[in-house]
């Protein structure tokens, strides 16, 4: 005849109670990660738009554009401050890195780009300045955000790509907001700085560092081209390096 049933099932036991508690904690952790991911995406989008805005700076529009950028940046700062508020302690900061680092890297790229433009291609922002700016806007103790070195380094690597784009565009503009040679020197400095880093740093950065090298070679090529054409006509020493900006002639183009 049939073997006896083993044990009938019944109400929950201690393991169940423990797991129910863990379930709630895990859900909360995952929910927080998800909130951070969404914020990180928003920060990325806003940062990229700020960068595109900054590329529109021309001699004529410089003041207005920078002004607009700083206004936009305030809103972006607020996004970052909100993100920081989600991090309740340093544990959260390290534990949830993957969720919010991408956005912070883009933020670093955007702010450092603005910094670069305002200093006409000479100044590299620092993590301290980045932090100080935020602390000015939110003095609450809960600002747990540090700009960790890896995030800073990642953002600066991406910055060099924008600096290269700026250099190329500047080389075709009469009165560029930043001199291409200055930007070239800027990239050289950064490349030289990163070259001193050992493998512990470069392990995760090899792709970005490769891009940096490519960007540097592009800016060197730009300076080379400017210099070699200047050398062909040495008596025209006072010749502006590039032909004046041509954008305005669009006026003269009648569209149907």
């Amino acid at each position: 005849s049939a073997p006896p049933p083993v044990v009938p099932s019944g109400p929950a036991g201690p393991i169940t109670a423990m797991m129910a508690q863990f379930s709630a904690e895990l859900d909360a952790l995952h929910d927080k990660r998800e909130r951070l991911v969404k914020m990180s995406r928003d920060i990325t989008i806003a940062s990229k738009r700020l960068i595109f805005l900054l590329h529109r700076v021309t001699a004529e529009t410089e003041a207005a554009t920078i002004s607009q950028a700083e206004a936009d940046l305030k809103a972006l700062d607020q996004l970052v401050v909100s993100l920081a508020k989600e991090l309740e302690n340093e544990d959260d900061f390290w534990r949830l890195q993957k969720a919010f680092s991408p956005g912070l890297e883009e933020y670093v790229e955007a702010v450092s780009f603005l910094w670069l433009l305002k200093s006409h291609g000479r100044d590299l922002i620092t993590p301290e300045i980045l932090r100080a700016r935020l602390e000015q806007q939110d003095t609450s103790d809960r600002l747990r955000l540090q700009f960790s070195i890896p995030v800073f380094v990642g953002g600066i690597c991406d910055l060099t790509g924008e600096a290269m784009r700026l250099c190329v565009s500047a080389s075709a503009t009469a009165a560029p907001p930043v001199d291409p040679f200055v930007l070239n020197d800027f990239l050289r400095l950064i490349a030289a700085g990163f070259a001193t880093l050992g493998p512990s740093a470069t392990r995760n950065l090899s792709q970005k560092l490769g891009t940096l090298d490519t960007s540097l070679r592009k800016t060197e090529q730009v300076c080379y081209a400017l210099q070699v054409r200047r050398a062909e006509f040495p008596d025209l020493a006072a010749v502006p390096l590039v032909a004046p900006d041509l954008a305005v002639s669009a006026e003269n183009m009648i569209l149907d």
Binding site: V222, L236, A247, S249, M253, L255
Partner: protein
């Protein structure tokens, strides 16, 4: 039951995509002809107007093809299938804009392109096509000088710079369009270098 439905869906889609492929292939062929037409202006820039006219004719020949293609798509499914013709459409837009510039010195609008090609053109297709223009014009600028035409480079430089500045107003994502846009700054540079070369030698 459900599997018959699924089966039918994929069979129909496969069929339709096959037909689209054939139609796009014809369009590609016609665009190759059009592209070949542009070669003449690089060797003889003075014939720009003539080339532009021929080019526009070649492009108008694709209008029935585009119309046939897109009318064969059920209503509302334009974006279901447009991946198959996006490249061809972008190339066509570039050619329309090229011809329009040669003829009238202006940038053809999306509506003008859509009208001439009898095709539905989305923003992204139009912009993609516009992105293809500066490199062709930079090349024309260079070849104009070789052919002894020292006035066309200025128009080109102004125009390319305007296109670049205009497109700079866009907020792009990290996609194909962004890559194409990134390439334009080198064309701006090239056209500026040509102007410089002429100016510094007092050729204009």
């Amino acid at each position: 039951p459900i599997f018959a439905q699924i089966r039918q869906y994929y069979d129909e889609e496969g069929e339709r995509r096959e037909q689209i492929r054939t139609k796009v292939s014809e369009i590609d062929e016609a665009l190759r002809t059009a592209q070949a037409t542009t070669a003449a202006v690089h060797t003889a820039p003075a014939r720009a107007g003539e080339v532009a006219l021929k080019l526009l004719e070649d492009l108008k020949k694709t209008a029935p093809l585009w119309a046939a293609l897109q009318s064969s798509i059920p209503a509302g499914q334009h974006f279901r299938y447009n991946d198959q013709w996006r490249n061809a459409l972008s190339q066509a837009v570039t050619l329309v804009c090229f011809a329009t510039f040669l003829q009238r010195g202006v940038l053809a609008t999306l509506e003008e392109c859509a009208g001439l090609l009898a095709a539905r053109i989305d923003i992204e297709d139009y912009l993609s096509g516009v992105c293809g223009l500066p490199s062709e014009l930079a090349r024309l600028s260079v070849n104009s000088v070789t052919a002894g035409n020292y006035t066309l480079p200025r128009e080109i430089a102004t125009f390319v710079s305007a296109v670049h500045s205009g497109m700079r107003l866009l907020n792009l994502k990290n996609d194909n369009l962004r890559k194409k846009f990134d390439a334009i700054k080198y064309d701006v540079k090239r056209t500026e270098e040509v102007l410089y070369d002429l100016a510094v030698r007092k050729l204009v």
